[in-house]
Subunit: 366 residues, 4 copies
């Protein structure tokens, strides 16, 4: 990966800071002739947008996306057609409150990138975290919305499966519920909503924060996407998910649990199929073997650490090397993992779209 | 990542199959003027080499590395000097037994890449797994041995911390013991050796296999390596580790455990330091914040699934779509996780070396 | 090169069409801590801007550049400081007249990219040439303005040295005159202005167009930039210049003339120097030997073909395969080579800045 | 381009020095299922091989290529089948005479890369030019031989069209004669052979050298290959050709002559065709418009400077900054341009193969 670009044929470059005038992305390599509406992109951004419940940051950003290039109007209904040239998308920042950050302009918030940015660059945009702000992820979600259109039949869905010490009951899994209006958590388990609400209210009122576990499932991934060694589909999904702010772990299929398994337990047995080459009797592999998709659902999970911006004072130092106690005011997500759901989906969708094009390029077999 | 290349300035391209004449790598972008001996590279390959105990594959490969380009003889003691041009390294395959694979030439071993290779390429070198064989990792280890020389003061060490259901006792951690002659497991806990021996003997005698958990620690990583978004140091370490055969999960620092933590628990507090900019009071972050190294040890863990090649018959299909029962003979590691230790180190070392050069390039601050 | 990105460490991605709302670029990898003013960027764009004389297109575009990310305000005088994160720059399209193109919406203009875009993408933005419009080059010039700031002491200047059948007199070469207000041609020869004026007036009045030859000279390029094989400094300058619209040839130093020379004539002899390692007695090589800069001025020339959009009817076909006669109205440069001068400079500056960072990264010798 | 790699989907990495044990390349991304024989590769290497006439270097290298990975034996006739995994090819160096270079170990040959390598790396393999030796091009030719197989119906042929002050008569052009046994010059004009022979004999006997002009023509290139901006087909051909040792200029189609043309002269008019979309009435564009292939033959020319290694003493300096007179003994080509013909073909073939795969990847239209 380059610094601010990912993908090989479906290439996404993002730019923008939390408190600059705007943020955005350039998607290069998108196939021509894809018909879509701006609303298809906006719908994904709306899922990630702040301020939608008391459980996320109260910053008010409409996150309205504009497409500046790479499309043509197509027909009377507002449809757009990709031309194959780079698609530039832009989201304005509207509700900056830089003064919230005055106190910490010269302090390093523990757990945050303040310190490492200064170590790297010797200069830092402290306002809202600058480039390390989660606002950057709006650009990823916009790119991911395009990526979803590249692979025919692809569906990429995500859900929050644990928040702090509270886990969902997988027996209650209901994909439809994830997007329901009564669900501020992207949880697939309706029964978990009151529990998560009470738990996160208590966290929030304490000025604290908490981590979360997210699962992303991609269905309709053709067998054969990926590459045997470094460009493995799972390696690139791992990189994509780990590149999301606050993510500290990624696993594919049974993931870390496979370390405890035997070969007999882990093997996904196969039987002949009426249609297609074979069917699998299980999916411990999470849809990827040897870096290449099997045709089963691709399953990835990632761990999001608790927001570093908390009200509890923490010991730290400032830019002059003096000991300080840091308290972060500003407006923050008590659990950034919630809004990470559409972001994780976007990164998985981009990795799959990229490998779809690469596979078609190398083999012509799609 | 390109298909068979990783890294941006310190670039590694590997090639070779299990049962071809040789395998190797080309390391491009290595700084000029690094003085080393062939034995420095060979020593790393010897750590990964098969046949060193009854707990790993009995294939007998000397794994002698040759350097074909990019170095000059320097002095009378056999030292070599890098010239800055591409360094090509080659390891011959000596002990192939392709006939072991005759039975499964047309069968798909469950959990293996046989099926996905055929889905992708429509042609497959079934002998020893072809390109998906763990033999490819010898090339990574050779490249990693060079990478270790790029960053002054860098030390990258790994250890096996769990095998199947058995974990080490971290209170006994002893880095020196990891490399000791009495330790066929790369375990840091001397007390774990008899336990692992008995456990793996039983697995091996049953023709089964088992997964493992590996931890890699890099010390001497300067603060400031990495990049804020897609080229994050942790994202590239994640990609590198996930690209190793059989790896299904990667985490940095406290990793998946952070999903259960609060912001207070997760924050690594700082105090001013006598030398240097600051010192951290803990290392939950695993040495990386916002994708950039903090100067603390970089800590990564990865899960290796059990070897898919087992003696127990498993249900599968063959290339003609017929149901078959597959039993893998050949010579296999009952726990591939053991030999994954030096491989994981190599991937971490390569990612750090690459970011060291990238950081120097962009900022000139090293 | 990726489709719409160039550079390895100093990476430029451009986007935008002639008749969309805007065009722009993202510059990734710019070193942090560079202090500059928006006017430094604008000054370069103003040199390329249309409508500045009767000899260029009469499209009225202010070409005001906005910087949307990657900089911080620094001080009271409006200075900006690069932060090391991606710098997004945007120029709005103001004076589109899409109806000019109604007649040719379905026709392929000979010598233009209309036909090949349709062959490639099956869909095409015909308005003003879409992505193949020379308006895209505004984004390159903006990026080049930043690139000039990356290498201390670097000066990159260009001049038009021939237009159609008229050549300048090199004996009159005056760099200061190139930028003079009385010089609508970027010619370094004051005596050539009336000749070029008369010549181009006649071309313009005939509804015709004419080609040109441009020379770019970079001074202050440190010795050692480049790479021995594919990433040669000259190879990347060649790619950059050839990627400019309408460019059909590139040469370095004595270029095509070297094909006629003997080794004695071509050799740039050297003598010891009071300061620095050596001085050259000539510069046939154009400042690059073996792909690496010598420390002498880097000299590149490129040929720009005549604008394809002419009033003279030409035989062609339309999208339905019918024979048509095409006449291009719109507003066009009778000699696009004129405005190619600052564009060529920008591409050379970007290639040098990129190799400056790459050289520092690999060798630490700057 | 990376330092020693070119191509995006069809990626070639080369390695090796003139006087090391071997040189070679890794071709990554080659489509699977291509059937060929080792002799197909060897035939191209034989065309470039030294020692085939008195007009080229007398170094005796069999240049026998070995394929170490990425292929499977296919059938009884020695055919090979690409598997889609990286293809590693190796050529041993047999006839090194390092002692020829003893005198110039510490001297900088004018016009050679000696000086710039030392400026860049601070260390240099002086034996035979090290990495900057034309021997490296054997690896390109091997890669190009594979590239030719990637695009169905592609033919790439080259010819020497001028040597020093002597040009061929294009009216005599005969492609068959280029490869004839009586033609040590790759000239397409039978009448030029005695002239070139006499001319080059005189150059050679004087210990001098001379430049040359080469033309490469690719037929069977489908319309639509390339990209509108930086990844233009012509930009990548230009980079590829300029990356060949001693090349100082590149042009496409009418190239530099277009600078003198009017729009009417330069336009390639079109008429409707019985088959396919259209036919062109001329090919000034050299088969590329807007960076994308038109379907006409792709035509590129490049200028090769005279060999810098000459017997005439030249003024120079040594590594200690002392003035010296340099005379190069060794065995050298009096006109390196001759053997550049198959090398130029290889670079053009690689660029086309890469864009063929990229076009298929992005658009699926092949």
């Amino acid at each position: 990966m380059s610094h601010n670009t990912f993908g090989h044929l479906f290439r996404v470059t993002t730019w923008g800071e939390s408190h600059g005038p705007a943020l955005g992305c350039v998607v290069d390599g998108c196939p021509p002739g894809i018909r879509f509406k701006l609303a298809d992109i906006q719908a994904q951004l709306d899922r990630r947008k702040p301020g939608q419940s008391r459980f996320v940051t109260q910053r008010r950003e409409p996150d309205e996306v504009r497409i500046l290039s790479g499309v043509l109007p197509d027909g009377e209904d507002g449809s757009l057609l990709t031309t194959g040239t780079p698609i530039s998308m832009l989201v304005e920042n509207v509700d900056q409150r830089s003064k919230d950050y005055g106190d910490i302009a010269r302090q390093y918030r523990p757990g945050h990138a303040d310190y490492t940015y200064d170590m790297k660059y010797g200069v830092r945009d402290h306002r809202g975290g600058g480039r390390s702000s989660a606002r950057e992820t709006a650009a990823r979600v916009a790119a991911g919305a395009l990526a979803r259109l590249v692979v025919p039949g692809l569906t990429v869905r995500g859900a929050l499966v644990a928040m702090g010490s509270v886990e969902i009951n997988r027996a209650n899994w209901n994909w439809d519920f994830v997007e329901s209006g009564d669900n501020p958590f992207f949880t697939p388990d309706p029964a978990s909503v009151p529990t998560f609400s009470d738990y996160l209210d208590s966290i929030r009122k304490n000025g604290s924060s908490v981590g979360a576990l997210i699962e992303v499932v991609a269905e309709g991934v053709p067998a054969g996407l990926g590459a045997p060694i470094y460009g493995k589909l799972d390696a690139e999904i791992a990189a994509g998910l780990m590149s999301i702010n606050a993510v500290k772990g990624v696993e594919i299929g049974d993931g870390f649990a496979t370390a405890r398994m035997t070969g007999e337990e882990n093997a996904d047995e196969m039987r002949s199929a009426n249609e297609g080459p074979a069917r699998f009797l299980s999916n411990h592999a999470g849809g990827i073997l040897g870096g290449i998709s099997t045709g089963q659902p691709v399953i990835a999970r990632f761990a999001v650490k608790p927001t570093s911006s908390i009200l509890t004072p923490r010991q730290s130092v400032d830019q002059d090397g003096r000991d300080v106690d840091v308290t972060t005011k500003g407006r923050h997500d008590p659990c950034v993992g919630i809004r990470a759901v559409p972001i994780g989906e976007a990164m998985v969708a981009c990795a799959i779209a990229d490998h779809y094009l690469r596979h078609r390029g190398q083999t012509g077999r799609i």
